[in-house]
Each structure stands twice: as C-alpha cells, then as structure tokens.
C-alpha cells in the first residue's frame, strides 16, 4: 500500500475489509457495524523525545511526521496495536504479555514452538528429548503447552501489588490458521471450538477467566520470583496447546505449498529424520488491555521413507 498524501487537510481513507465484503455479499444481516476501535500501527513511540532541547512542542515532532499507509483490506492486517481507554489518567505502568518458558515448556532452539502433527513424527522426534509439542497425541503427554503470563514487567510495581482491575486481563483472543491446527486446553484433553473462521482461514478463539478458568485462564497468584517472567504485579496466565489438523496429519500438500524441509541430523533442529515444516504465528490479544503478542509456531511432519 502507498502512503496517504499528508500535505494538506487530514483525510480519512476508508475501505471495507474482505470480511466486511463477504458479510455484505451474504446479505444475511451479518454486516452490522456496532462498535469501533482506534489503532496506531505505524507509530514508533520510541521517537517520543522527552528531552528535546526546544521544549515540549517538539517532543512528538517526529511522531507527527510519521507517514501513514493506505488501508489494508485484509481484516487481520490492520489495527494490530490498539488504543486503550483507561479512565485513570495517572497510570504509569501498563501490563504486557510474555511467554513463560520457566514455569511452562520452553521453545525449541530454533526460536519457535515446534508442533508435531502425526504419530510418526512424534515417534521419531518426541523421544529425542527435544522441545516439541505433541500435536497428534498430546493428551498422553505432560508439559505440552504454551504459557503466557500477563502483568506489569517492572520491579517498581512489586509482585505483591494487586494489579488494578483495569489492567488485569480476563479474556484472551487467540488466532491461528485453521488449516494447521485447533486450539486445545493445556492438557490436550479438550479441543476448543473456534468462535469464527474468516475468509483467510484465520480461526478466532476467545478464552475467559469466567468460562475457561482452571484449564486455560488462571490467576497468577505467585508473588515471589520463582519461575516468573513478569517482574512486577501479576495478572492472569493463559495456557493452551494444539491439535494438528487432519490435513497436516494426513497430507503433505500444505507443507509443500507453504513450508520447507529439513534434513536429518545436520539442520538447525537436529532432527532424527528428514521432515517438512511450516512456520506460522499464533496471535494472542488481551481483550481488556488490547496488548497483543505473536507467538512463533512451527508445524513439523516427518517425511515418509523413500
């Protein structure tokens, strides 16, 4: 997309998203706009210069000169970072989400969570002591999930501090390409149902402390530093895992279309057998705080013996 002309009056470039057009075409009344959100995807707040020699009027000079891209029509490409309404204007610290690899399973050395999609792969790689998630027979495994901790990551807000209800996340939205996997609870015993699957095959799940307590969204009551990645006041924990899709389980089509291969032993993953893999991201959005984190995930499938 090109930049918008910012030489004159402020203009607003509005388009329907692909999902909007799809719903409009359906004609079933599902195209109904009832709320709005504001975003600042292009803004780099590190450009805010609080020590500018010319004074406060110049603090955000560079930010205000940021060129803005035209609107994307892909519904998942815009509004990745949203503006938040918090009634208290004296908030100094805001919560973040971080992957907890201390209390929960760690990522593979390649930097992603590696999900094995069939029993052959699990037999081949799962016994090799690597850091893998069992995406086919996960229910039989322990520590087979991703854990995200939410809270204020600053020691100036002591862990024992009770996080303000305004900043404590109670609902999470998880988005994953539905062609690859479904989201399950941390123990892989319950495959969750996507709230909706859009035209780009992005499945959206919503988990809340009310509906998914104990299995997925739990309170982080730990006030010590043990196995914690949030340095300050802690909110909730989200844990989830994956059930590989039948398509990944039974076919290499998506792997050949979207993925790559790695040979045995000598590749970055030090695999036991040559395998296909697809890299993707799983997005987690806090519905209260608007904070979003993308988790790198790799789906792995052992190549059939030739």
């Amino acid at each position: 997309m090109a930049f918008l002309d910012n030489s004159g009056d402020i203009i607003l470039d509005a388009v329907l998203t692909d999902t909007g057009r799809m719903r409009l075409a359906k004609g079933d009344g599902s195209f109904s706009i009832s709320q709005f959100a504001l975003g600042d995807d292009e803004i780099d707040y590190s450009l805010y210069n609080k020590t500018h020699a010319s004074g406060t009027a110049y603090y955000d000079l560079e930010i205000l000169q940021t060129p803005v891209l035209e609107a994307f029509t892909n519904n998942v490409s815009s509004l990745n970072s949203r503006l938040i309404t918090i009634s208290d204007t004296n908030v100094m610290y805001m919560p973040v989400m971080k992957i907890n690899e201390l209390a929960g399973p760690a990522r593979h050395a390649v930097g992603a969570y590696v999900v094995m999609v069939d029993s052959d792969t699990e037999s081949s790689e799962g016994t090799a002591g690597g850091k893998y998630i069992y995406g086919f027979n996960g229910a039989a495994q322990g520590d087979n999930y991703i854990r995200l901790d939410q809270g204020i990551d600053n020691v100036n807000v002591a862990p024992a501090t009770t996080l303000s209800p305004q900043l404590r996340e109670t609902s999470y939205m998880v988005q994953i390409d539905n062609r690859f996997a479904s989201i399950t609870d941390a123990s892989n015993t319950s495959i969750k149902v996507a709230r909706l699957i859009d035209d780009d095959n992005i499945a959206t799940y919503v988990f809340s402390e009310t509906d998914d307590a104990s299995t997925m969204v739990t309170d982080n009551g730990v006030t010590t530093g043990d196995n914690q990645v949030i340095a300050g006041a802690r909110g909730t924990i989200l844990q989830f895992s994956f059930q590989a899709s039948t398509e990944l389980n039974t076919s290499i089509q998506l792997f050949t279309d979207l993925g790559s291969t790695e040979v045995a032993s000598s590749g970055p993953m030090s695999l036991q057998a040559a395998s296909y893999y697809i890299d993707t991201n799983v997005s987690v959005l806090g519905l209260t705080t608007g904070y979003r984190i993308d988790i790198p995930v790799r789906f792995l499938k052992k190549q059939a013996a030739s």
């Binding site: 918008l4 009832s34 504001l38 805010y48 205000l64 938040i84 009634s87 908030v91 805001m94 209260t288």
Partner: protein, 362 residues
Amino acid sequence: MATTFKSLTTSDKVSTRTLLHEAIPLTGTILSGTYSDNNIKNFSHGMFQSVYDYPYLSSSANHIMDITVGYSSDSGLSSSANTQNSKKINIYNQMAQVLVGHDHTGAILRFDQDGDIVSGGTKLNECFFLNFSRLLTKDEIKKGSFAITVMTGGTYAARLNDLVISDSGAASDYRVNSPAGEYAVLYPESGGAVGRKVGLIYYQAGIVVLTASIFGESNKTGSSATNPFVPNTGSNYFGDGDVSGRIETNVPEMFRAAEISSSCNGFRNRLVNIAFNNTVELNSTIYFCRAAHNEFNYSANPTYLTESKIRVKNEAADSPISYITTVGLFSADNEMLAVAKLSEPLKKDPTNELTLRVRLDY
C-alpha cells in the same frame, strides 16, 4: 475496566444519498480516425458495432458504446429485398420493446417522436441507436446534459452541416412512461431544424435513439449546405461503400442496401462530438467515531512501553498521550468489517475530544 472498543449508538450513524456527476466528452476523432478504426469492433452476427477508446485488442481498451441501426417493419424502407432486412427489423423491435414496451395486446410499440404514445402521433420508424457503456453512464445520464454534434450534410468524405442535438431543458421536462425508466426528447439546438423532435434519450438505460431523418433535406443549414440526399459526385456516399456494386448515396439507400456495420460506419464518421454528464447514486453511511477526553489515551503498541513503563510519561501525573492512525469498524462479534486510515497521526490526550467521521459508500 480498560477497553479497546467503543459502541456506536444510533446517533453515531447516519445514512445519506448523494448524486455525483462526471463530465464525459467523446470527440469525433476517437470515434473515427485516431486509431484507424482499430478501436472499432464488428461482429460476425453483424447486429451492431462496438466502439472502444483504444484498439480493442489491447487490454487497456475500454468499451465506450455500441452503434446500430434499425427500422420498423412499418417503415416505408422495409423490404425483404433489403440487405439484412430482418436484422434491421429485429434490432428496431428489440430496442422498442425494451425502451417503449408493448401495447395491451402484447404488440411492440414503436418509438414515438414526442413520447406521447397514447395519443399516437409521429413515430420514429428508421433509427440510429447509440448504446453507451455503463462504464460511461454509470447509474444514469444526467438529464439536460446530453449533446451530440452530427454532420448531417455533405458526403462521407466531405462532411458538412454540423447539427447540435441536445436534451436541453430535460431536467424539468422528461417522460416516465417507458419500461426502461425516464427519457426525454432530443431537439436540434440551431439551424432551420430548431424545434423539431429528432430523437429520444433514455437516461437510466443510457441509450440514445436518433431518427434517420436528421440527415434529410430539412436539416440543411447555411446557404452552402449540400443536400445530404444528393451527393456531390457519384463517388460519394453515406455508408462506407462496402457493398459490392452499390453505393449508399443517401440515408434511405443506406438503410436498404448497406449492412448494419456499414451503416454504423457511415453514421460514426459523421459524429463530431458527444458530451454528457453521468450520474452515480452514492449511498453512504457515516459513522461518527467519538473519542471523549477520557478515552483512547493509552496504547497497546509494543513501543508504547519500555519495561512496562509508559514512554510518553515522566511521572504518573503526566497526561497519557496516544496517536491515532487507524479507525476500525467492528461487528458485535469483534470482526473488523471496515477500516479507515488517517493521512497523518492525530494526537489524543485527556485535553481533547475527537470525532472521526468515517463514510462508507455503497
């Protein structure tokens, strides 16, 4: 509780309807000359001729209009001995049944000179049809904006006698008794023919019907006008002379002897200018996205925080600041249905309130 959404109330939405107009000028050289007729497409069925704005084999070509001719079976020119007699009648009938309709017996009505079909009156039995592409007319041709300049005299090779025909005054004087929508009568703007009814323009259909009699004696203008029915020399003709052994020396002869495509060539080469304004009916919904002083002052942008501390604040009492670049419009199930981008970041802090007016056009 913190939130990233704000609900739109009924007072935040308004629907409007706007008519937009564009001026569409078509010069005669586009119609005949500029591209050596490589922008003219004839079909094996021979029923009409298409005009493009560029050689039609190019993917850049846009369809401008179709031209065809036809006469009623009641016309004095109709004869089974004529070239493509049935096709010319078929064309006339097809256009008539779409644009004029049928009588109570189901018979196709003929084009009426003044649109007063019930009272009878003079019919347009021999017609040229200009069917403009929807690309140009959009929803409809703007009433009162149409003008066409035709050379009614002289010869194919040496054309004379510009006749400007328009629907002047049609904005407040048009007919509504056509099954194809609103239409008006076309009048010459100058010369001895002023006041004559020489055609009809159907606004929603984007079709102009011109009587062949505009090329008749009575439309001559100026003392040097040449009688169009009588060519200067035997080698001149109205059509393009593609009928072996025949020369279409005048319009009646053209209707009898020439193929439709040849007649279209003759007519097209006499077009000097066509101009009209099109109309787009724009239905819009405007969403007023109101950010109150205490809303949207914080951001979930990853760069907004450093170790969870807000970058734009030195101390807690400082005002939070955020910068808006995007407005997302959502359904109740949090699916983004539309997105709008500001051309430059807009500062939001507790000292200001903003109303962003997002218009979606349908």
